[in-house]
């Protein structure tokens, strides 16, 4: 599969995340929700981010858009570099409310949320909410143009009779329809990057297939990049070019989809593969990862996966220092002592 070529041309980069740390300072202690994450996303590509609940995948997405509630949340370290027309903007240096940031949200980066049921305000029609976004981001547009544009968008995402449905309220839409409307809203300023946070989690499989197909189609049409966040490995395996595996705020492995599936290196990734059932392939007994995810309030020293790891090396893995990130093969990174020589 040629689409899984990871070698990033720097000209094609849209977003680079370097050593991002987002912490939540609570009365009961500091939660290291995202703790040193590196990611890169290129034009027209799909980056899959997988991990279990609490691994920091949503917090990473919200950090990119500066939507972290502060206090208690804060980006304490790292850079989020947005490449736009030859210039590079560090999002972490911007104020969440300033003009530039508001511009980036929507114009450069669009986002669709997990819960299509709660992401729309219940008191306004779907059309009004999409038109509001268009009017905010495009000063030139007037109300009639915005309405025409909204109808076009709804048609593009496959809502039947958009001329009438534009005046419907969110509760009159089914879950799949609402997710389509959500996508229409995210697309209204043609973002170069679409962040999709568990876009199909609350949907039935046949509806999920519709939405995934729609996203693939829109990507082919517009050339936007997609950051697809999901706990569903099968969804990610079908959609993504590259995959980042996260565990407890760390990016433990990163590589092309083929590399991550055919040659998983981190014991956590290997454990995930053995613990999920599939509808195809040989039917083998599942091997669960023992134990549970530790509380992010008191992280173990050293490698965060050490307490559940089958390859645990006493004195090395639990040494209180950061785990090195190793490029085990070209463009395939893993944070694990098993692959460090010496």
């Amino acid at each position: 599969m040629s689409k899984n070529n990871v070698r990033h041309n720097t000209e094609d980069l849209i977003l680079e995340i370097k050593n991002l740390k987002t912490h939540f300072m609570l009365d009961t202690g500091t939660i290291h929700a995202v703790d040193g994450v590196n990611l890169t996303i290129s034009r027209g590509k799909t980056l899959g981010v997988i991990g279990e609940s609490g691994c920091g995948k949503s917090v990473t997405a919200h950090s990119i858009l500066r939507l972290i509630p502060s206090p208690p949340g804060k980006i304490v370290d790292g850079e989020i570099l947005l490449h736009r027309d030859g210039e590079v903007i560090d999002i972490t240096k911007l104020k969440p409310t300033e003009e530039m940031m508001r511009n980036i949200r929507g114009n450069d980066i669009g986002m669709i949320f997990q819960e299509p049921m709660t992401s729309f305000g219940p008191l306004h029609t779907i059309g009004d909410q999409i038109m509001e976004t268009i009017l905010i981001h495009n000063d030139a547009a007037n109300k009639n143009e915005a309405r025409d544009q909204a109808i076009d968008l709804l048609r593009q995402v496959g809502i039947p009779n958009p001329e009438q449905r534009i005046d419907a309220y969110p509760h009159e839409f089914s879950g799949g329809m609402r997710q389509r409307a959500m996508i229409a809203m995210a697309l209204c300023c043609s973002p170069t990057l679409l962040i999709a946070d568990e876009p199909t989690t609350s949907l039935d499989v046949t509806i999920e297939a519709q939405i995934l197909e729609l996203l693939t189609g829109l990507q082919a049409q517009t050339g936007m990049a997609i950051m697809l966040i999901s706990h569903n490995l099968a969804v990610v395996s079908e959609m993504a070019d590259d995959i980042a595996v996260m565990y407890l705020g760390k990016r433990v492995e990163f590589g092309s989809t083929d590399a991550i599936f055919d040659n998983p290196l981190h014991p956590y990734t290997q454990g995930l593969w053995q613990s999920i059932p599939s509808v195809d392939g040989p039917l083998e007994k599942l091997v669960p990862i023992p134990g549970i995810v530790p509380s992010p309030r008191d992280l173990p020293p050293g490698c965060v996966f050490a307490s559940r790891c089958s390859e645990f090396m006493p004195g090395i893995c639990d040494a209180p220092k950061p785990v090195p990130i190793i490029e085990a093969e070209p463009d395939h990174f893993v944070a694990c002592y098993l692959y460090s020589n010496g």
Partner: protein, 338 residues
């Protein structure tokens, strides 16, 4: 697994309708046909997987079999040794005893435990309700079970709120098994769990099945989970069983267009970058306002005039393979190759 083909539960033409009421007088203007004439058999020691999308009536069917609702019509027969009990005709007193043979594991481990009781009390409760053993015996039994599902001794006196979802589900399983049922309805037991914990619970349920000779009706929307646990699989769509067969037969050789579409929609791990999904247009019909003929005809790409006029019966087209489709013999449908 012990599969001697002896039935434990037989369901015949089970119907569960809920009235739609309107206006000040709450007059009944129609019915939501949540379960609309379902027949199936579950054998001793076997797992029947029930798969379908949300709102198709799979949970309602599970509850109706256990008579947690009063079904509108049909029959549920429980085989107890050589005795056959018609569950829906029993009095409340008789029902109590029968329930000891039929238990349920619920979907949401955060809602199904009593928060005011310790873990141990939660598991003892069904024994008290059914008057089984002395209090020492009950406690010993509950303790044993909790250890068996993987809890530790120091956990027993704690309250449910201090446990994670996976551990709560273990407690829910221990509670369902405490009165030694023969038949268990498991309603999406791993739905709320993380993938790495999901495998722990699935394996635990299989070990317990082998040890106690349990029969499961395993309800899930996730075809991959259903494939892993089931001996046979039943596919439900808007209150009807559309197809049911042995696991591999149903996966590899579907004969109902809905089963084919469902298979096609499920994301796969072994085939990456696949782009040949069958996309079903629209959404399932409203169970309160069903289309004429086949329930699936509004979304079926193979539908003919007959499908829109006449409702297909569930019929056996090959040994143990049942399907409700007029065209089953003529279609050449694509399954999942493993």
């Amino acid at each position: 697994m012990n599969k001697n083909g002896k039935p434990i539960i037989e369901v015949r033409d089970l119907r569960q309708f809920f009235p739609i009421q309107e206006g000040f007088l709450r007059r009944t203007i129609g019915y939501v046909k949540a379960v609309n004439g379902v027949s199936l058999t579950i054998n001793e020691g076997e797992t029947l997987g029930l798969v379908g999308e949300s709102g198709c009536g799979k949970s309602t069917l599970g509850c109706a079999i256990l008579r947690l609702y009063e079904p509108t019509g049909g029959e549920v027969i429980l085989h107890d040794g050589d005795e056959k009990l018609s569950v829906l005709e029993l009095s409340h007193r008789e029902m109590r005893q029968v329930r000891a043979n039929m238990q349920m594991i619920f979907q949401d481990p955060f809602a199904s435990l009593n928060e005011r009781m310790t873990v141990l009390e939660n598991v003892i409760e069904p024994l008290v309700c059914n008057n089984i053993g002395t209090s020492q015996e009950r406690e010993a039994k509950a303790e044993n079970l909790l250890m068996q599902v993987g809890l530790q001794k120091e956990h027993l006196r704690r309250y449910p709120h201090s446990f994670s979802g996976g551990q709560r589900q273990r407690i829910g399983i221990a509670r369902a098994l405490s009165i030694e049922p023969k038949f268990v309805v498991a309603d999406e037991p791993v739905f709320a769990l993380d993938v790495s914990v999901q495998a722990q619970i699935l394996n635990l349920m299989q070990e317990l099945q082998a040890e106690f000779g349990l029969s499961y009706l395993f309800i899930s929307h996730d075809m991959a989970v259903i494939r892993y646990v089931s001996d046979r699989i039943a596919v439900m769509y808007v209150g009807k069983l559309v197809e049911y067969a042995e696991r591999d037969e149903l996966l590899q050789h579907p004969t109902h267009p809905y089963t084919e579409a469902l298979h096609s929609a499920v994301p796969r791990l072994a085939q990456r970058g696949r782009r040949d999904r069958i996309i079903l247009e629209g959404a399932p019909p409203d169970p309160g306002d069903l289309p004429p003929g086949c329930v699936f005809q509004t979304r079926c790409k193979y539908a003919e005039a007959k499908c829109r006029a006449e409702e297909p019966e569930l019929r056996e087209i090959s040994d143990g393979h049942f399907v409700a489709c007029h065209l089953a013999e003529d279609l050449n449908l694509v399954g999942i190759q493993s």
